[in-house]
Amino acid sequence: MAGGGGGTEELNLVPYLDIMVNLIMFMVTVTAYLVQLKEAPILAPTYGGSGGASGEQKPFLTVAISMTQIKVIGGGAIQGSEQSLKPDDFRGLTVQLRSLKTTIPNMAENLVVTADKDVPYSKVVKTMDAARDDAKGPLFPNITLSVALP
């Protein structure tokens, strides 16, 4: 670096480079800790029956989650049928739903999921995951969360 001469001075890039290296390290670290987010679309609840004027309604299923059990309840043409599972038996739920979908013809693609007011959100999501698909393919890709009116 010249003190008072008229020569061309070279720009000192080292501090700038230090800043850049630190910034890159920061960005790489932040990116590594960024959570990869996905979404699970759910259908809005609809009011009224799905059956037409003929009165014939497709069989459909409702999964009710409580703190003590998971219930698979039949609706429509299979109203009255009900099966209970342990509260954390999501694998069993998948097997149960696959079995019902295979044996009952004309089953609706929609599945209604409802839960007790104290059931944690994580359990509802696990239930939805268990009901969405299995190794054989899609089960109930359209899930409606039942909303209780106050």
Partner: protein, 186 residues
């Protein structure tokens, strides 16, 4: 900054200014062939690389439609769903607060239930956001599509999820998307 600017300062004292950049480069190479020490490391190329990497990382960071900061108060459950996120109005439910598009609407005191007034505030905030989007749409902005994404902590009771969806439904939001963490197992 160009490489020639760097070289010119190094050889300024010994080389006439009329010499071209190519000649300077050749002279420098010849000098190094004879075993002379390198006088200064040229950092320009490294700066270019660093700048490109930085720009790439910043753009990659921007590309994510919605980023959330995980904390003890807000940890969405993990899912096996592979559906990619679509940006929408965000309704966030953490252990300590309810937010609409990152604006605080209700502060939750742990252990206390949310009141009707609290839910009325959430409804109002969602309605205001809907009106803003519609106002902008009239002036050339994106159309209001009724999408709302719910970002909730994994311990949130279903009653709160249910009420949040109900509020959204009342304010003309018709498509609900649950925002979840990837990496769930069956």
């Amino acid at each position: 900054m160009t490489p020639s600017a760097t070289y010119s300062s190094e050889v300024n004292d010994s080389v006439p200014s009329s010499e071209s950049d190519d000649e300077l480069m050749l002279r420098r190479r010849r000098r190094q062939k004879h075993g002379e020490a390198i006088e200064g490391l040229n950092l320009t190329a490294m700066m270019d690389i660093m700048t490109i990497i930085l720009v790439f990382l910043i753009k990659q960071y921007e590309a994510s439609p919605q980023s959330i900061t995980l904390s003890d108060d807000l940890t969405p459950p993990k899912t096996t769903s592979e559906a990619e996120m679509v940006p929408a109005v965000a309704l966030t439910i953490s252990k300590t607060a309810l937010l609409v598009d990152n604006k605080l609407v209700v502060t939750v005191v742990p252990g206390t239930a949310l009141t009707t007034d609290d839910w009325a505030k959430v409804s109002k905030a969602l309605g205001v956001r809907r009106d803003q989007i519609k106002y902008l749409a009239e002036r050339g902005g994106a159309k209001f599509d009724g999408n709302v994404m719910l970002i909730a902590d994994d311990d949130t009771p279903y009653e709160i999820i249910s009420n949040a969806l109900l509020c959204a439904g009342r304010e003309q939001y018709t498509t609900y998307r649950l925002v979840l963490q990837a990496g769930g197992r069956k």
